[in-house]
Every structure is written in C-alpha cells, then in structure tokens.
Symmetry: C2
Subunit: 349 residues, 2 copies
C-alpha cells in the first residue's frame, strides 16, 4: 500500500502539499496539483483513514447500533439512514446489539473506540438510565431512534405511541366494538406502556370501561401472541376484537384464534402495530399502525451530523403514527358484534 510519502517523493513535493491536494482545503498551484494528482493515480494511492482519523480526531463515520439486524424494521431504517449519511458525505458503521444489554454496550464501546462522529441507537435492552449515563460519559453525540427518553429529549427521534394506540383502538370502537382485548409488549418498555395508555384513553373517550381481564402482557413475538390468546380465552371474559402491541403478535393471535374456531375478521377483529412489510401480504391483511421508520432513519442521520458539527439541529424529531386499515378489521353493527363470540365461547367449554 503506497503512503502519502510515496506520493510526495514521486511528485517531488512535501507530504504537506499532498495532504493539501487530497483535502482541497488550502491553495495549491495548478501544476503542483497536477503532478500530485498524477502521482496518486500512478501509485493507486488511497489515504489511510485510520491515520487521518487519528490526526484529526474525527472519522466521518456515523455509528449505528440496531437491536436486531434481522428485525422487520431493519432494512428500511438502515437503507434510508445509509442513503442520507452518504448524502451528508459520511459513512455508516452498523453493528448489531443482539437484543442483549451486554452486547449493546459492547457495540457502543466498539463504535466509541472507533471515534465515530456520532452514535445512532435503535436499542431495546438498554434502560433509559443506561442511555442517560452513557450520554454523560462521552462527548460523542448520541441520537436515539424510535425511542423517547425525557432526559435526552433533544437527542430523540420518536413517534407518539400513545396516539398510535389510541388511533387503532378508536378505529375498532368505530367499527362497533365494545369488548376489546389488548395484548401488550413487555411493560418495562416505554413504547409498550405508551400504546397501552393510548388504548385506555380511547376506551375512556368512548365511555367504555377498562377491564383488566381483557389485558395481557406479552413479548412482541409471534408465539407470544398465540399464547396470549390462550390466556385471554381461558379468562372467560368475552371480547370481539384484539389490539396487539405489534404485528408479529397479531399474526400469532390470529393463528391461535383460528385454532379455536374463530374467523378473523368475521368473528373477531385483530389489529397490529408497526406495519411491517408482511402485514400487507398476509391473509387477511392486517389493520395496523404505520411507523415511519425510514423517514426517522433519515432524520436521525441529519440530527447526528448536526450535533457532531455543532450546527443548530433542524432535523424533524417527532413523528406521527398513521392508521392503516386493511382486512383484519371490518365494520359491523353493535348487535352482531358480540353474538358469534359468545356462542363460540359457550360451545368451547
């Protein structure tokens, strides 16, 4: 690998001059520049980024840690963030957090050691306290994607989960439902709590009671959704619709309901949350809440660069969830709504 020294010798200039033509940040006479450019081409010279980063204390790299590289959000988020990063003349270094606190911390350390200009985190195992502590320990700017931590308000790209939970629940109420079950994600997570809160608020606004027997906590996984339905059915408190904390759990819920002889949406409506790609393809297609994760990725990159360069942040930080109505919910009159449910409940016993 040729170095800047080799280029300088071949072009008969100092390494300082070569550096100047590489970075085009200081005046260089036309013919010296030509000689240097020719020498670089002849040698196939590539500047060593590590040396540059060491000398300048910046890397032009934005580091991103993702909970799960295989996750449904992942492609969209990463593709959009990458594109924006490229537009901003930076590069994206992505690492997996493996849904484990230790791995997430290790991934962050790795990026920090690499002198990334900023950190973009889409993590779910670190607590709010972990994140806050991290922010005090490093002066590398941090951006949180799809997460809201009050103490790090200026660093969050977030979407209002309460509104999302409210939107989807209200949609069911408008379809004529009064007995709506709810399968939440793990309640130690803020977004699970937010969605549940939205569910409660929609019920309240409609004058419907909040019935604990209809609410069950699960794990955001497909199997968890199936299992949650088992628990709900065993409680013998009838319901005609199920609000699920994410799409995956909705898939599991539908499967489990079918096993018990219920049709979706003929007998019971089911909704998801996230709007992953699959959700528009499954049968029935899923009514859900669209989370603009790609757009959030773009703004995360913008905010990261703005924070890293000391510019005034102009990136959009708050996003609104959007209701997407599909085949898993359908309009029905109120008297139809609970009838088939009750009869099947009885016939199961």
């Amino acid at each position: 690998m040729p170095t800047i020294r080799d280029v300088s010798r071949l072009a008969n200039v100092s390494v300082a001059t070569v550096s100047r033509v590489i970075n085009a940040n200081q005046p260089v006479s036309a013919d010296t520049k030509a000689r240097v450019v020719a020498a670089m081409a002849e040698l196939g010279y590539q500047p060593n980024s590590n040396a540059k980063a060491l000398a300048t204390n910046r890397s032009d790299i934005l580091g991103m840690v993702l909970g799960d590289l295989g996750g449904p959000f992942f492609g969209d988020l990463m593709a959009q963030a990458e594109e924006e990063t490229r537009r901003l003349k930076r590069h994206l270094l992505v690492t997996a957090g493996g849904h484990s606190r230790d791995i997430e911390l290790e991934a962050i350390d790795f990026l920090l050691r690499r002198q990334v200009d900023a950190l973009m985190l889409h993590v779910d195992s670190l607590t709010d306290a972990d994140l806050y502590e991290l922010s005090t320990k490093t002066d590398t700017p941090i951006v949180l994607i799809n997460r809201y931590v009050p103490d790090l308000h200026a660093h969050c790209i977030h979407v209002n989960n309460e509104v999302g939970g409210e939107l989807i629940t209200r949609h069911l109420i408008e379809q004529g439902h009064e007995a709506i079950a709810c399968i939440t994600g793990p309640l130690y997570k803020g977004d699970s709590r937010g969605r549940l809160q939205g569910y409660r608020r929609a019920l309240e606004q409609a004058g419907l009671p909040y019935v604990e027997q209809r609410v069950v906590e699960s794990d955001y996984m497909e199997a968890g959704g199936s299992e949650a339905i088992e628990r709900l059915l065993s409680r013998k408190t009838p319901f005609t619709a199920v609000v699920c904390g994410n799409d995956l759990m909705a898939f599991g819920a539908i499967r489990s309901l079918r096993l018990h002889g219920f049709s979706v949406p003929q007998d019971i409506d089911v909704t998801g949350y996230d709007d992953i790609v699959l959700s528009s393809y499954v049968e029935p297609s899923l009514t859900t809440i669209h989370v603009p994760i790609g757009a959030m990725g773009v703004q995360a990159a913008r905010l990261a660069v703005q924070l890293a360069t000391g510019q005034r942040p102009t990136a959009q930080q708050a996003f609104e969830p959007q209701l997407v109505v599909r085949g898993s919910t359908r309009s029905r009159s109120s008297d139809q709504s609970s009838q088939p449910m009750h009869s099947k409940f009885v016939q199961q016993q």
Copy 2:
C-alpha cells in the same frame, strides 16, 4: 477522552506496560497489572482503535458491501454474518452498494482505506472483470458472497444456480406441464444465466422442446414480472406454467396473470426463486428455490478470517439450492393442464 498516556501516569508505569496489559500478549507482574487495571477503570479508558490499527496495520474489522440494504436477503445474511464475525472476535462494517457500479466501487474504497482485514462482497453491479482486477490491486483478502467468479474460485461462497433452475423446472414437469414459460433476470448476470441454463436442461432431460417464444428477460423486480407476463401473453404461444427468476418477479407475474383472468395455480402454475420471507405468507404461497443465504453469510465470515490470518481455508464454499413446494403449483393430469389456458387465450382476443 483519556489516552494510554494518562493511564500510564496514573498507574506510574510506562505506556508500553499499559499496552501490555491491554493486549495481554506479554508478561506483566501481578501488582503492576492491578495498578494499571485500576487506573483504566478510574479514567474510564477506552483504547483508540484508529491508533491501534495504524500501529498494527490491522483493524479486526471485516468489511461487507451489500447491493441493497433493503433487499430481501439482507437481514438474514447480515444477521448471521455479524454473529459469526463476533464469534471470531472481529467486527463487521457494512456498507450499501446501492446497486450502482460507482457506489459499489466507492464503498469498497472506503473499506480499503479503513484497513479492513478482509472484504466480503455481495454485489451485483460489478462485473467479474471488475472483481478480478480488484483482487489484483489489493492484498486485502476478498470473499464473494452468493456469486461464482471462475478466476476467483477460492474466494467464492456460492450456490449452484443451474441445479436450482433445473430442480424447479423439473418439479413443474413432474406436475404434468409441458408448456413452461420462463421469465429470467438480466442475462448479463451469471445467476440469471445459470437458472435459465437449468431450465433448459430440465426440458431437455424430459424430452421437451426449448421454445424461444416462451422465454423473456426481465429485471428481478416485481413490476418487471408483471410486464414480462404481458409480453408472454402477447406472443400468443400458450403456456401452463411460468418459471420466474426470483420471487419478486413471481409476485408480479401472479398479479398480472390474475388481471388477465387466470387463477394461480388453477389455470397456471408459477414458481419463484430465493425463498424470501414473504413467499411463505402470500396467497397462494410460492413454490420456490431456497437459497441458504444465512449459512452462506456465516461461511463468508469464516473464510474471510481464514484468508486474512493465513489459515488454511476450511469454510464451506459450495451450497446446494433446495426445492420448496408450496401453493402456487399443483399436481394435474396432462390433459387438464392446457385446456383452460387455451380457452382463456382465445377468449381474450
């Protein structure tokens, strides 16, 4: 950010000694070590990876460039490769190639400048010649994922496309089809040609003629699959099944066939290739060829590290495609097979 100097001062030792306890590659007395460890902890010291890479000329990073971060393969490939990389005590740096030759080259340059220990490429815009030239220009080891370049035989993790094309075509023949259309990917790509070759071989083995009118080249996109069906139908050469070069084109083909009044698989069978996640969820679920992309990612990481460290390569390089039969194909007797097709063809005119 504290440096090794700060640690050495606090622990009252030389920086060389600190370096030795960090890397644990040379003997250090127990109590010096304890002092150093304590000092590092007290300062929250993190070694600067760029400085280390500069000094050692290795980065412990495996660079990966992916044609398309949003692509269907992506999650699985990356998640598995990342996990294996971590197991091998390295890190993964991923960059998007954006399906453009310039961006792919730029991405590779970026990684090379970063002194990655090896390059793992899943690219589709660079030609075999580009890749070969690249391999001669750098001594950073290169691994090609899901691609076979004869001149770089020892660097490829590949799957036999010809066998895949043959498997899926033979499956259709066994279902009783004799008039099988074929929608290929871009024929400048080796895998498109391989799959087409497999299609031809299966026909040949069954004593069926290869009819040019039934073969059309497309672009591996869903819309391309739709458009390809239009072209096939306009040629007025009947067919009862369509072999598509990938799953996405199969989705487009099915949509287009439906628009023309054909049911899949009642009137026409359709097959895909790749077995992306969606394919088992769509209605009808897609008969396709499974490409073990996750396993290939694991072996790519292994091969990359083996090449980088001069170990004898033991990674598995050749993979076999697998037929996955689902709902988009069905057994039929030969006389049923072309009847409805012909009648609908006529009724369309």
